[in-house]
Assembly symmetry: C2
Homo-oligomer: 62 residues x 2
């Protein structure tokens, strides 16, 4: 599977938001994250950066 882990970057810290993320789609004024099991999390942030071979999605607050 080619999922990745989503991290919220704040300053020089990265906090794990959700593991094994499949989909990230716009939702209201933030994002809806969905993992490969269909579990969902909503976060007020935007996608900043990707490193897919490292399985990393970096999010940032708007």
């Amino acid at each position: 599977m080619c999922e990745a882990n989503a991290y919220l970057r704040e300053g020089d810290k990265e906090e794990l938001v959700l593991e094994m993320v499949d989909k990230v789609v716009p939702y209201e004024d933030g994002l809806l994250l969905e993992d490969i099991y269909g579990r969902r999390k909503i976060i007020k942030a935007k996608i900043k950066e990707l490193a897919l071979v490292d399985h990393k999605i970096i999010l940032e607050r708007d």
Copy 2:
């Protein structure tokens, strides 16, 4: 490998920008895309949406 293909969405069309993308990082007022072979492409767009199990990165013009 867990790369994905990057598409630029304009209206209801999606144009393939770069295949086998590993990294997407902010660059000037757009994004720098890098594929798994280290080939790079710069595009004035932002990341809109991800569907990683489908190997899809959707970009949009700012």
